[in-house]
């Protein structure tokens, strides 16, 4: 997108819209008396909805209220995990580190409804039109790309797209409702009931129905994605932060890998009772904030770095559910101690599958072969 396209206002589409009524200055400020670019932009707030109470909230107080506490805006998951790792948010050094590196993903109203994410270079979505429904790929996918959108669309070589996209063409908003997007920020996104839950649309998945593997044992032990995730997902390793001698803040990450690992469910609860769930590695490292001071995360090992995952690459038939022996006896599918960096093994103790909890190889019964599998997703 060219620089001019990013700031071009569609005179026909936007200026006829009710959102143009207050005028540019009302939301963005600036200096209206001049036509000299530099002077006109003095006092300009490019991201006018950064404080939604004062702009969007003038006409949409109910949404401004939601935005005030929205998970997309507050990113409470970061705070939750950092607190569990011992982060002391009364320590100014920790707060500086956090604010320098961990707040750039906040999304305000305009970030979804008017603009493209800065990760994509920013700019207006469509001539400043206010989109009631955000762009699935530019907006949702712009921020949730590597860990959701690429999986969902099948952008990883050799791994099919999610059947919900591949066959049904379902956009993000089909399952994730506006209430979800605007939801209050507290805890992590996995707090409470799975929303959406697979069985919300697939209530037929119950023990005693036509699929033998949907027995009470498997359904009780395994999250749906254990069997129906079609392949590896992106795991990120390491994250170190700092400020260089030019005063520029930076990240250093240690690379990414495509991994498919089944771990012990680190979030086992009445809402997620299964014993096993897919896990992926988060970009977390004990020395995340060491540039600022050592020991800012004294309880780092309290939270696994291999975290609960819900891969968006669902298929009916997958490599691990092709037959009983595609899973039983396939130790490499599971997160074992040797798969984990020794420096973080203690942190991951709750998700590493110990040898006695790996599904044992099935006995070979002469004359009995593995069940045939259906073609297709």
């Amino acid at each position: 997108m060219e620089a001019w396209e990013k700031v071009y206002i569609d005179g026909e589409a936007f200026l006829q819209d009710v959102h143009a009524t207050p005028g540019c200055i009302a939301c963005h400020g600036g200096t209206p008396e001049t036509v000299v670019k530099g002077e006109a932009h003095v006092g300009l707030a490019a991201k006018a909805s950064a404080n939604p109470q004062r702009t969007c909230g003038s006409c949409h107080p109910e949404y401004a209220e939601l935005a005030r506490t929205s998970a997309h805006r507050l990113l409470p998951g970061y705070l939750e995990v950092l607190k569990e790792r011992g982060a002391d948010f009364t320590n100014p050094t920790l707060v500086t580190a956090y604010n320098n590196h961990c707040t750039s993903c906040h999304a305000s109203c305009g970030d979804c409804h008017i603009s493209r994410p800065s990760a994509l270079g920013g700019g207006l979505l469509a001539g400043h039109q206010v989109k009631k429904v955000a762009s699935v790929w530019l907006t949702c996918g712009g921020c949730h790309s590597a860990r959701v959108a690429d999986d969902y669309r099948g952008n990883h070589e050799g791994i099919p797209a999610d059947v919900h996209w591949q066959k049904a063409g379902m956009a993000c908003t089909k399952c994730h409702t506006a209430d979800d997007y605007h939801a209050r920020g507290h805890g992590t996104r996995y707090d409470g009931d799975p929303e959406p839950g697979c069985q919300d649309c697939h209530p037929e998945v119950q023990p005693g129905t036509e699929i033998a593997q949907h027995d009470s044992l498997h359904l009780g032990m395994l999250s749906c994605q254990v069997c129906h995730s079609a392949g590896a997902v992106k795991s990120c390793f390491g994250c170190h932060t700092g400020v260089d001698d030019q005063g520029i803040k930076y990240f250093r990450t240690e690379g990414t890998e495509m991994t498919f690992k089944i771990g012990l469910n680190p979030l086992q609860s009445p809402e997620r009772p299964w014993a096993y769930a897919p896990v992926r590695h988060a970009p977390a490292a004990p020395g995340l904030y060491d540039f600022y001071a050592e020991g800012l995360l004294p309880e780092f090992d309290a939270v696994p770095t291999w975290k609960y995952a819900t891969p968006h690459n669902i298929q009916r038939n997958t490599p691990q559910n092709a037959s009983c022996t595609s899973c039983h006896g396939q130790d490499a599918l599971f997160l074992r101690a040797e798969d984990v960096d020794p420096a973080t093994r203690e942190a991951n103790r709750s998700v590493i599958v110990p040898p006695d909890r790996l599904p044992a190889p099935l006995p070979v019964i002469p004359g009995v072969t593995a069940p045939a599998t259906e073609e297709g997703g």
Partner: protein, 123 residues
């Protein structure tokens, strides 16, 4: 007596200005209470969630709360809503430029991307 008479005369003569002054003062106090006064703290600082989402905000210092409430912006803060309610200045100059392809193609510049040489890896 004479002084009192003079004062009354002055007040009568300037009654209009005095009323205007009092009205402006009352309006200013009202606006302050509405947008910048103690009540404004409830608007700008997420006290509701601090009470109900302990993890996110209760333990966070003011700096962090303020940041969470109003994420850093690239430029100056948005105008007060009192300005929204008032008649905003004309946006004609803004519109004239931002709807003119030729002008934008000439003037629009990509913000300078600042990358540290220390940065490495994805993300």
């Amino acid at each position: 007596m004479h002084t009192t008479h003079t004062n009354l005369y002055w007040i009568k003569r300037n009654r209009g200005w005095l009323l205007l002054f009092i009205a402006l003062l009352a309006a200013s106090v009202g606006l302050w209470l509405l947008f910048d006064g103690p009540a404004a703290a409830d608007v700008t600082l997420p006290r509701v969630e601090a009470a109900s989402s302990e993890v996110a905000l209760a333990a966070a210092p003011a700096a962090l709360s303020a940041n969470a409430s109003a994420p850093a912006v690239e430029s100056a803060p948005a105008p007060e809503s009192s300005e929204l309610a008032a008649v905003a200045p004309s946006s004609d100059n803004c519109i004239a430029c931002h709807t003119n392809l030729e002008v934008l193609q000439t003037l629009a510049e990509e913000p300078e991307q600042v990358h540290s040489t220390e940065a490495s890896g994805e993300g």
